[in-house]
């Protein structure tokens, strides 16, 4: 429900259409989001938790840690995670493909994306003795009812112990284009040499956007 009175005015001032209902099931806040918050929040800084050297001023509308312009950072979980089978069946000689789906309906048309980083966590595959390490990740658009489009991004992956990152802006998403309402992708991870296939444990999207309406032009220092 829309909040009445002053709460509605404050929400509007914060650029929010309506008061979120709260997480249906509380989920852990990703460490990166905590780090970005602590780095950015001046009141935390006052509590001496700041990691930037004293005297340094953070540029407004810029995400220092990610090195891009932006004043909104979203950590978006994969909507399809629940439906994904824990152990995909494999056709002979083929590793499975996964479909991931991100709900971007909360991103407003005025917001300009400046970074879209896919983060994938794989469960370690049983490496066959003597199998050469290394994988190749491929990302393609997945269109419901149509299937998979042309491969947009191919990336070599050295190891699966740490999350695999893939930059989508410029590949799966044109620069300067406003965000679509949803982003559905087909992923495949093929071992360089025949070996056991890996399993996708978690997929998420880190999206940084700049809402120019909340940014003031940089005040020029007094001459």
């Amino acid at each position: 429900p829309t909040a009445p009175g002053p709460a509605a005015a404050l929400l509007q001032a914060l650029g929010l259409r309506d008061a979120p209902r709260g997480a249906p099931k509380p989920r852990p806040v990703p460490p990166l989001m905590w780090r970005l918050f602590r780095r950015r929040d001046p009141q935390e800084a006052r509590a001496k938790l700041r990691w930037t050297p004293p005297g340094a001023t953070l540029r407004p509308c810029h995400v220092e840690e990610l090195g891009v312009a932006g004043n909104i950072v979203r950590h978006i979980p994969d909507r399809g995670a629940q439906a994904r089978t824990p152990k995909p069946t494999m056709t002979a000689g083929q590793c499975p493909e996964w479909t991931i789906d991100f709900d971007l309906s909360a991103v407003e048309p005025a917001e300009l994306p400046s970074r879209a980083r896919l983060e994938l966590r794989f469960e370690a595959a049983e490496a066959k003795a003597g199998a050469a390490p290394g994988w190749e990740l491929s990302v393609a658009p997945a269109v419901e009812g149509v299937g998979t489009g042309p491969v947009l991004l191919r990336q070599a992956v050295a190891a699966l112990e740490t999350p695999v990152h893939a930059e989508l802006l410029g590949a799966a998403w044109a620069w300067n284009a406003s965000a679509p309402r949803s982003l559905c992708l087909a992923l495949a991870l093929r071992p360089q040499a025949p070996g056991a296939c890996a399993h996708l444990a978690e997929a998420s999207l880190l999206l940084v956007t700049l809402d120019p309406r909340l940014c003031h032009p940089l005040a020029r220092p007094r001459r």
């Binding site: 650029g15 979120p20 209902r21 806040v29 001046p42 407004p60 979203r74």
Partner: protein
């Protein structure tokens, strides 16, 4: 929570007053992860002389504000006093869950009054 408004008297000079916005009070504590609230503060107080003149280390006074305070002290009915308004502001960041179960970090400029001045 706000520092009570002031009447006349020496402590009534223009300065920042404490105003704490509690997200729990506004009923947003279920979806705002951090902070629990923030010190927004507000400006209030007289801008008559000598308050209009900058104290040591204070914000530079605009000549117009001083002129206006002078006019008021000479002919009160001719011109009102300058206004006590924010002179320096700083940003806040809010970390919250939105309706699509995303964790969102938004940064807002000019949300906290650090200093007040007469304008």
């Amino acid at each position: 929570e706000a520092e009570p408004a002031v009447g006349g008297g020496p402590s009534s000079a223009c300065r920042a007053r404490r105003l704490y916005v509690s997200f729990r009070e506004v009923g947003w504590h279920r979806w705002v992860i951090a902070p629990r609230g923030f010190l927004a503060n507000y400006c209030q107080g007289q801008c008559s002389l000598p308050a209009t003149l900058p104290g040591p280390g204070g914000p530079p006074a605009l000549n117009h504000a001083v002129l206006r305070a002078l006019m008021h002290s000479a002919v009160p009915s001719a011109a009102g006093l300058p206004c006590c308004v924010p002179a320096r502001l700083s940003p806040i960041s809010v970390l919250f869950f939105d309706n699509s179960d995303n964790v969102v970090l938004r940064h807002y400029e000019d949300m906290v009054v650090d200093e007040c001045g007469c304008r």
